[in-house]
Amino acid sequence: MARFARALALATALLVILAGPGGVWAGAPTDQLRAQIDRAVKILEDPELKKDGKQRERRAAVRQVANDIFDFSETAKRSLARHWASRTQAERDEFVLLFTDLLERSYISKIELYGGEKIKFVGESVDPEGAIVRTRLVTKQESEIPIDYRMHARGDKWLVYDVLIEGVSLISNYRTQFNKIITTSSYQELVKKMKTKQGEFLHEEKRTSQR
């Protein structure tokens, strides 16, 4: 009996050591991403939320999932790249909010077009600096679109900071655009542009929800 107890204690100790601090181990990024994607799909397929007039509620629910798995401040920082260093803390906070909003506006409306496409998880590579989770979006026509998620560990959570669709990086796309705007005009101009876009969208959303 004593021997059994000792073996159990040893096994538990080993498990704790293997799991490491924060519980970050291989397989975790895929599992965490899968859980959030399943959550999002469930929301999108919920017949209750598909009804007219529920659009705002549905969007809010999807947004909540996105906030749980995406590290928007890291994406914003990397997209602004070398222009990030010269920003004040207040400017950075404002930019992260504007950028998060921009991403949500451009992608949440696309996500709403979801119609039962399947997501396959095809691989994962983890190193101390971060992880890549490779997935394929299988359309109804059976063609596969590769979507890779770049993730990094924050505490015991893995958060996505970049998405590569067909090998094209989201950060790279915005980095090029932001850099062009900032170098040809100014950072203030970029913020102004983003605010104008945001205003237009809010106006549009208001109009459609009033209809």
Partner: protein, 146 residues
């Protein structure tokens, strides 16, 4: 006396010609001596589609280095770049394989990041973008629609 002077002139001429030839072949062949100048960083791409050793590495269209070698590592393409000394690459810099014009040669474009961490010599660029395979994309949209 007259003859030996002519011989010397011919000899000098031949040597000059050979030096010029050597210089040309080094310049055109892009041969680097003693491992070349600058430092080395590696990048792993899922595919390099058409990139060759000797291809240029650019930031903002300015050449900052060249591809030294391309090999296979764990079924990915491992590209070794030689970057000029003095060019700092941030930890979050993105290396993408781009095409000059629509059907031109392939090169590596690096978009500099904003991280304070600098990639050390023999380090690795982690963020990559593989070249977009137009044929594959096209076939998806041709055969995809049933």
């Amino acid at each position: 006396m007259e003859r030996s002077r002519a011989n010397i002139a011919v000899g000098v001429f031949v040597i000059l010609g050979m030096v010029a030839l050597g210089y040309l072949s080094i310049k055109l062949g892009q041969v680097s001596f003693l491992g070349g100048r600058g430092y080395v960083v590696t990048v792993d791409f899922p595919s390099v589609g058409g990139l060759k050793s000797g291809s240029t590495v650019e930031i903002a269209g300015v050449e900052i280095g060249r591809v030294e070698s391309i090999g296979l590592a764990d079924y990915q393409a491992r590209v070794t770049l030689r970057v000029q000394t003095g060019i700092k690459l941030q930890d979050d810099a993105i290396a993408s394989i781009k095409t000059k014009g629509l059907i031109g040669e392939k090169y590596i474009r690096i978009s500099p990041g904003g991280s304070e961490k600098i990639i050390p010599p023999n380090g690795k660029i982690r963020e990559v973008e593989a070249p977009v395979d137009f044929e594959e994309l096209l076939s998806k949209y041709i055969f995809g629609k049933v």
